[in-house]
Symmetry: C2
Subunit: 391 residues, 2 copies
């Protein structure tokens, strides 16, 4: 589905379908270009990459909350507050589970940053462990207002390039998310990516009739170098179980969305073997969707750690390692060329190290590499070219 390729970045906070046309060039979306590393990928935003970006400031330690009590949601029991609590709890749980699986005694290194305009983030990275080549688990909670200039530019864009003389006030926004990529060393242990995010925009202060809106996005997907059906079925079945608790349409819909999004167009192949991906989600009860995102994030450990335990010590040879490195090259191609969060982040000056922590420690590009038909490498590639139903 080409349209989803254009509108659904993995690290993106994108609009709901109902209001998509209006919001595609809305100030709220443009506002997010000031936040890092949670970045939007709306196509319309590309033109605004020249808007000045607020740089992040390093902090010594993480605050209890990135929210403030002056209306940003602290202490209110709001969805903002509950979402921040969830992603920070999940970050801790997943890092602990990964450290235990790694077994090297290495600990995640933490970088905390804040954003003068509002909010901040925590990047955690474990590099060159026993099991993991590179594992990054980031959270960010950013909010603030968009400057009137950007709002006018956005309004102009909405009118097909024609600006009007209306002077608008700042537009409040809120964006929070958890984002993670885990690259194991063993070529039989798959790479995992997940990302869950929540977004709010408010009416511009001088447009009382404009709607306040919110939406959820995210997903979890698996990128193996070898196709081990037992692992892929386990992974997809956990995703389906999680989805089915909320709506029987979720798994088939979000599974297809995932296959469509992680598409390396110039290779005509997917980055991996999929999982679930959704965006613009607001046509359900807000509490229900908060619970859904929470369950999805909570299912990362049961979906992934059993696979890692089974594969982390599988013997492998040099050719198998080289094939893993070729697939890592494809991962780099997808992230640098197509992933909207990454490409937009690079162009707008997000925290580079947080954005590029998704890249593998090592990758490889062989000229015109083609696996022999019927080989194990070919089977994986075939499944990336022709997405399958795993359940």
């Amino acid at each position: 589905m080409a349209s989803s390729l254009l509108t659904t970045p993995s690290q993106t906070l994108a609009p709901n379908p109902a209001a998509a046309r209006a919001r595609r060039s809305s100030p709220a979306a443009a506002q997010v270009s000031f936040s890092s590393p949670l970045l939007p990928g709306r196509r319309a935003l590309r033109v605004r990459a020249s808007v000045a970006i607020e740089k992040e400031v390093p902090e010594k330690e993480a605050p209890t909350t990135f929210l403030r009590e002056d209306g940003s949601g602290a202490g209110s029991g709001s969805v903002r507050e509950r979402f921040e609590g969830m992603i920070r709890r999940v970050q801790g749980e997943i890092c602990a589970a990964l450290e235990e699986a790694d077994g090297s005694g290495k600990r995640f290194v933490e970088d905390v940053w804040s954003r003068p305009g509002g909010g901040g983030g925590i990047s955690r990275v474990l590099q060159d462990g026993n099991v993991f080549e590179k594992a990054g688990v980031n959270v960010s909670v950013v909010y603030g207002v968009m400057p009137p200039d950007a709002y006018r530019a956005a309004k102009g864009a909405a009118k097909n390039g024609a600006a009007d003389g209306h002077k608008a006030g700042p537009v409040p926004f809120f964006a929070a998310g958890i984002s993670s990529v885990l690259h194991p060393k063993n070529p039989f242990a798959p790479t995992l990516h997940f990302n869950y995010r929540y977004f709010e925009t408010d009416a511009p202060k001088d447009v009382p009739g404009a709607p306040r809106s919110w939406w959820f996005g995210g997903g979890t997907d698996l990128t193996p170098s070898y196709l081990i059906e037992e692992d892929v079925k386990h992974f997809h079945s956990v995703q389906k179980q999680t989805c089915d608790k909320f709506d029987p349409s979720f798994y088939p819909r979000f599974k297809k969305w995932c296959d469509d999004y992680f598409y390396i167009k110039h290779r005509n192949e997917r980055r991996g073997l999929g999982g679930i991906f959704f965006d613009d989600l607001n046509d359900y009860d807000q509490d229900m969707l908060l619970n859904f995102a929470t369950e999805c994030a909570g299912s990362v450990i049961p979906a992934y750690i059993p696979i890692i335990e089974r594969r982390k010590d599988t013997p492998f040879n040099e050719e198998q390692k080289a094939w893993q490195q070729v697939r890592r090259g494809r991962y780099v191609e997808f992230n640098l060329v197509y992933d909207r969060g990454t490409t937009f982040g690079l162009k707008t000056g997000g925290r580079i190290e947080s954005i590029l922590v998704s890249l593998p420690l090592t990758a490889r590009w062989e000229y015109d590499h083609k696996p022999e038909e019927g080989s194990e490498e070919w089977k994986l590639l075939d499944a990336c070219i022709n997405p399958k139903e795993w359940l």
Copy 2:
């Protein structure tokens, strides 16, 4: 110079400044999107990436010329013909020099392709030699006409999105070039890139008043992992000597253009230590510029091979190899994120293996890697952040 970043891809055939505004959205430029791997990178062309691309066809062997006698320039002594002759001769000479320097007995593997609409190309790759990790030397000669639909789209784009009802005829174009990236194994032996290209467009058949135009582009640049002043000075002095034979303004102008073009914005550093880069060049005698491009291409061997001979056997340790790999990661970032020829080629369906042969065999991304101040690694990085005058 930000504008040059937007308009001067290393593999791009871009318009001359005099007619830049008109041609930026011209059918001739759009036409090139049908050719591969010589691709344009005009910003305005991005919107036209959905235009169907003619796929290349593999050929058993290279023809004597890719031109035809029916007006495409064969047998005419034209600049087209002389440029094709030059790039094909240079491809042969450089591949022979590289095979000799490599000393492994390995030979370049050749892939020939043609384009039903007109022309074709020859890709030559030497991988995993003694000295070279990956060396690619490609030529292509493509020409034809742009379909009226694309022409109308281009005309519409020139009018700020408004299409008119005027039905136009096809627009003839011609594009030829040589493009090469050489990645040695030894971390003290630098990577080299060069690319020389010639472009012509003709008036659309129903617009007799529109001008026929032509321009040259290209450059040669050096990307070391360690700063060895002797090597960089040698490389730049060969570039300057070549430039000075034609115009004393060329070296300073094209040296700065090179520093500006190979800029990794999200890192605030250049890919390497520069060389020369030019584009849109048509404000000199056409024969003089053909001679200049010929001399530039001919200076690749004397500029590079002596450095390779000096550094190919330098002892190195694991840390130095890892640093080379980190710099290779930056090479990948530049090529996939910024290089207009690469990004446009990927989006429009050029011959992927020819386009991505520029990527290194292996690369590395360490989280938040910062060389110690004053170290040899830091000195290289400093020179990439603050371009120097080498002569």
